[in-house]
């Protein structure tokens, strides 16, 4: 079947064209814009800026560092909790019980829900006057009128839980798929050798899941770093920029202030940071080498 023809090139040609126009060219132009003063609302100031945008970013923009720090915290907390809960959930729905098919469909379903819709649902759930905390307080649990999204002390926790609701199924699905590819006789051999449930988990299940865990945490970390929908609509980065991530800062530069030059410089920085940590992560975790 392996022949030298034009056929494979014809088959990938449309994909290549799409990627060239909508992925490769934009990346090139982001690098170009990052060296320009480019603001749609102030066109008379546009022109070559050299490294001015980057200087401003590194030395004159506290919000850049603040948003970067928040991005790091956000990614770490979300990925760690999603992995832990996703793994537990995958182990549970991998067991045999009555109604397992329906249970799976239900616990996985938030995965299909968009960030904006998640925001809508959780605003309804958390609103101070008719939300869940009001109902609980009527039952004698907690205090009435709790506004978790407006309070600087609780807004982070509320954001984290909301994203968990939508994010845990991703890990659960991927890890469940990998659990099912573990040969059953491995467990039997371990049982025969007298291994306890916990021992079987640590010496059979976990080593098998290693690559899936590394890959899914990396994909998810990149995804959570880039994820804008939920935070943009739920808190808008507030209160007082407290929950502004780097991509959200970029999106606001693009959508609100139309400062394309500076926004592009932020983009380049974000892309480099992401690439650096992805490579580092794959190296350190020794992806692909089974223990």
């Amino acid at each position: 079947m392996r022949t030298k023809t034009w056929a494979p090139y014809a088959l990938i040609a449309p994909t290549l064209v799409l990627m060239a126009v909508f992925l490769v060219y934009p990346i090139g132009s982001v690098v170009y814009y990052s060296l320009q003063r480019y603001n749609v609302t102030q066109p008379w100031k546009n022109g070559f800026a050299g490294l001015d945008n980057f200087k401003q970013m590194l030395f004159d923009d506290p919000l850049f560092w603040q948003s970067l720090a928040f991005s790091a915290k956000w990614v770490f907390v979300e990925v760690a909790l999603q992995l832990l809960l996703g793994l537990i959930l995958a182990l549970i729905v991998n067991e045999t019980f009555i109604g397992r098919g329906i249970a799976r469909a239900m616990v996985f379903s938030p995965w299909a829900v968009s960030g904006v819709l998640t925001t809508g649902i959780w605003i309804l759930l958390l609103n101070p006057s008719t939300g869940i905390f009001q109902v609980l307080s009527e039952w004698g649990i907690g205090s009435p009128g709790t506004s978790v999204l407006g309070n600087p002390d609780t807004v982070f926790d509320a954001l984290v839980v909301t994203e968990l609701w939508r994010g845990v199924p991703f890990f659960a699905i991927l890890l469940l798929a990998d659990l099912q590819s573990i040969p059953k006789d491995l467990y039997e051999a371990a049982s025969v050798d007298g291994a306890s449930r916990w021992r079987r988990f640590t010496s059979v299940t976990l080593p098998h899941l290693k690559d899936a865990i590394i890959l899914s945490t990396l994909l998810r970390a990149v995804w959570e770093f880039n994820n804008v929908d939920l935070i943009y609509t739920l808190t808008g980065g507030g209160p007082a920029n407290q929950t502004t991530t780097l991509p959200l800062y970029v999106a606001r530069q693009a959508v609100d202030s139309h400062n394309f030059g500076y926004g592009s410089a932020l983009t380049v920085a974000g892309f480099l940071i992401l690439l650096f940590f992805s490579i580092l992560y794959l190296r350190v975790s020794k992806f692909g080498s089974r223990a």
């Binding site: 132009s29 982001v30 299909a112 829900v113 008719t130 999106a251």
Partner: protein
């Protein structure tokens, strides 16, 4: 062959029936341990379902009511969002965009996936590497250059523009997945058909395509869900209200009708029902497909 590839040891493990019985017996031997499964499962189900229920309740009870089990139900909020706020139009736009992305992503990923799985060609590794690298490109960070390109091509405020951008972003991962699925289909049958005088194209339609059905369902429906949920591109590139998709419409509802929870909830139900239904049907294929090694392919 496909049967075992696409339907691996999921609910009922294949031939050696022994393990199933053993496992059932093993569980039955530890009846005290069953709560370890049931309690966390029920807790997690509550965590998942209460938010959905909350939205449903707000959507069907009259404004001002605080009943937790609303009766009688009202459909006035649906009437408001569908006809007055324009969710009817947003729904139409989302359906067109979702189906457009579904068709293009599926067709192009089958073509590209077939090229990767069945041919060896110069630049193949580079192509694959580029596909993988594209996964690191942040959509939010492409807003600025894409806006400039769209403006130049006259694609702003068109559904075509939204479809094209979404296809470009979704295609790499779908294509890699699809090439894994195709690689799992044995080459021999296809070769036999070609020896019998079929052209490669006919062999593909007669032999490969029928076996590819589960993969087509999985890739297609996930393309649809992704397009249905896309927010940033639609927010940035469709600024005229008659081109809004559901997520953009919802985001405005969040701002403008912040006090009208009934309308917000009804809009949410309109946006949620199609994808949650699609997902409920296909999530089985996803787990099975990934488990069959398509990801490692």
């Amino acid at each position: 062959m496909t049967e075992t590839l696409i339907r691996p040891p999921v609910d009922t493990p294949p031939p050696p029936r022994q393990p199933t019985k053993r496992r059932r017996r093993a569980v039955a031997e530890e009846p005290g341990k069953r709560w370890l499964i049931h309690v966390p499962l029920v807790l997690y189900l509550l965590f998942t379902l209460i938010p959905f229920y909350w939205m449903l309740v707000f959507a069907v009870r009259p404004t001002g009511s605080t009943q937790l089990v609303p009766w009688p139900v009202t459909f006035e909020h649906f009437d408001t969002v569908w006809n007055d706020i324009g969710f009817g139009i947003f729904f139409y736009n989302s359906v067109v965009m979702g189906l457009g992305v579904l068709v293009f992503v599926t067709v192009l990923s089958v073509m590209g996936g077939y090229a990767l799985a069945r041919f060896k060609f110069r630049g193949q590794r580079l192509f694959l590497l580029a596909m993988l690298c594209s996964q690191f490109i942040p959509g939010a960070m492409m807003l600025i250059p894409l806006f400039v390109i769209f403006k130049g091509m006259g694609l702003l405020n068109t559904l075509t523009g939204l479809i094209v951008a979404e296809v470009a972003f979704q295609l790499p991962l779908s294509l890699i997945l699809m090439s894994g699925f195709i690689r799992n289909i044995s080459v021999e049958l296809e070769e036999a058909a070609m020896v019998d005088g079929c052209s490669r194209l006919r062999a593909f339609f007669a032999v490969v395509l029928p076996q590819l059905k589960p993969a087509l369902v999985a890739v297609g429906s996930f393309a649809f869900i992704g397009a249905w949920n896309n927010f940033l591109f639609a927010l940035m590139f469709a600024t005229r209200q008659d081109k809004f998709t559901l997520p953009v419409g919802l985001s405005y509802a969040l701002g403008e009708f912040n006090t009208d929870f009934g309308a917000l909830a009804a809009g949410g139900v309109v946006a949620a029902v199609p994808v949650v239904l699609v997902f409920a049907v296909v999530q089985r294929f996803l787990v099975q497909g990934l488990s069959a090694g398509a990801v490692k392919g």
